[in-house]
């Protein structure tokens, strides 16, 4: 029996809406590539079930910051991260943290679609298998279908699950990569310019997908397209020369930003 009145439910929902829950907290994050400092004491919190867009000119540090969120920088030689980043309560740079597990919790989608040279089915099944998420074949079939459904790709590929993933179109490959990221039930999905290699139709499909994924995941997206940032995100952070210049509601950011550098950048003016 549901004893809650509709009004009470609304009120609770409202409260939930107004409460700001942070999924990831970045405190004084600096990144060095050898001697070169790429990020300067960035304090940026990522809100739960929100799409946060990172924008800024090339070399501003937005991708570098994105990569600190699931320790992708670990793979770059000479890269050093200082400061503190937490996922929920966990310090992700803690020695105890299992990086493979971290990357299952914080998934990533890259600029260029990079499916494995295997079947569509195997592309999705790989992650759940190594993480032991499926007990049997039926379980795995279910995960594959659900992931492809989530990525809006199921209808297009359900009859050719065992054909190669690389045979799909660019837009389909990118959605396959998103399905692959979703398959391991991540909490956060990082996207590094996920649409820059796609045509406008495929881009629209991925953007629609991002919009839907927001209900279940926290998303951080790096994009060079201001219009894309404006379309898909609720929060936008502007980086410039390794510093976080401004973080604001997307609606405010693109109509009346607080910082002059943001203003100049989004309007395409000389700084």
């Amino acid at each position: 029996m549901n004893m809650l009145s509709e009004a009470a439910v609304e009120k609770a929902l409202d409260k939930k809406m107004n409460e700001v829950a942070y999924k990831m907290i970045g405190k004084d994050v600096s990144v060095y590539y050898g001697e070169k400092r790429a990020l300067f004491d960035v304090n940026l919190n990522v809100r739960e079930n929100t799409v946060t867009a990172l924008i800024g000119p090339s070399g501003c540090g937005k991708s570098t910051f994105l990569r600190t969120l699931n320790r992708m920088n670990d793979t770059i030689e000479g890269c050093r991260v200082t400061g503190k980043i937490t996922l929920d309560e966990d310090d992700i740079y803690d020695k105890e943290i299992d990086v493979v597990e971290l990357r299952a919790r914080v998934g990533m989608v890259f600029q260029k679609p990079n499916p494995f040279p295997k079947s569509i089915y195997e592309n999705i099944a790989y992650g759940p298998r190594i993480h032991g998420l499926a007990r049997n074949k039926a379980d795995m079939d279910q995960i594959v279908e659900a992931s492809l459904q989530r990525a809006g790709l199921w209808a297009e590929v359900k009859d050719r699950l065992h054909e190669g993933g690389t045979g799909l179109s660019g837009g389909q490959q990118q959605r396959l990569c998103i399905a692959r990221a979703v398959a391991v039930s991540p909490e956060v999905i990082l996207m590094d310019e996920p649409c820059s290699a796609l045509d406008p139709i495929a881009t629209a499909k991925v953007e629609e997908l991002i919009h839907e994924l927001r209900a279940n995941y926290t998303i951080v997206i790096v994009t060079h397209s201001m219009q894309q940032a404006a379309r898909v995100s609720q929060r936008t952070a502007m980086f410039h020369l390794g510093q976080l210049v401004e973080e604001n509601d997307t609606d405010k950011m693109f109509t009346n930003p607080d910082d002059q550098r943001t203003q100049d950048y989004i309007m395409g003016r000389f700084g």
Binding site: A230, F254, N256, D264, M267, G268, R269
Partner: protein, 237 residues
């Protein structure tokens, strides 16, 4: 200081819109002055000119609108640029309405001509129109300078015009009661006065738009005291 766009053609498009608005403003201002002058002097040739000028003004508004829409589609303007273009559309619409009101006043010249407008009746109207003309002229200056403070000052001054209109209304009523032969002329003059008062309103709209274009915010409520009183009342309940 505003820096230029990386795309110089974009700057040219915005400059074009600004120039066209200034031209529209100049014409609208002139039409209003001409309309009242035609009225008090019974000058039907001048009235005719105002009526034909309105066609030019309507055409200019359409041109600005077309150009603004193309610019939005091509450039996908953001932040201050977006506010600039949306503001341009709104100001063009206000100026077009100002032109209509001038034309409407000019049309009445023919109606009152047979009777003529006695000096004492015309005086109040001239005064009202002077106030509206100053308001319009200053708001167009502010459009060029983009001063948010001045825009707000102009906005607050609309009350003067309203007060002047109310007193003119009473005055015209008095003349009608004094001598029924005044009724035809005074009724026309009442409509003219209303037109002029509304020109002031459009100038105020433009001031608000400029404020928005510059700051990204809507100016604070006109009577903050009243607003506070309302809130206090609500809490007391």
């Amino acid at each position: 200081m505003v820096s230029s766009h990386i795309l110089s053609a974009y700057d040219e498009e915005l400059k074009y819109l600004r120039r066209r608005i200034s031209e529209m403003g100049g014409l609208a201002e002139q039409m209003c002055g001409d309309a009242v002058r035609a009225l008090v002097n019974g000058d039907s040739a001048l009235a005719q000119k105002v009526i034909s000028d309105d066609v030019i003004l309507d055409h200019a508004e359409r041109e600005i609108q077309d150009k603004a829409i193309v610019t939005i589609a091509k450039r996908q303007p953001m932040a201050a640029d977006l506010r600039e273009i949306i503001g341009t559309l709104r100001i063009a619409a206000d100026l077009e309405r100002v032109g209509d009101l001038g034309k409407n006043t000019a049309k009445r010249v023919i109606a009152v001509q047979g009777h003529g407008v006695p000096r004492k009746l015309a005086r109040g109207l001239e005064h009202l129109s002077d106030l509206a003309a100053v308001q319009l002229k200053e708001v167009l200056d502010v459009y060029a300078s983009r001063s948010a403070e001045k825009a707000e000052a102009i906005r607050l001054r609309d009350e003067e015009i309203d007060a002047m209109y109310t007193s003119l209304f009473r005055e015209l009523l008095t003349y009608m009661m004094e001598d029924p032969r005044n009724i035809t002329t005074c009724t026309h003059l009442l409509f003219c006065a209303k037109n002029i008062e509304r020109i002031g309103d459009h100038a105020t709209n433009i001031a608000e738009t400029i404020y928005y274009m510059t700051t990204g915010a809507v100016p604070e409520g006109e009577r903050p005291k009243d607003d506070t009183a309302n809130t206090v009342g609500a809490i007391a309940d």
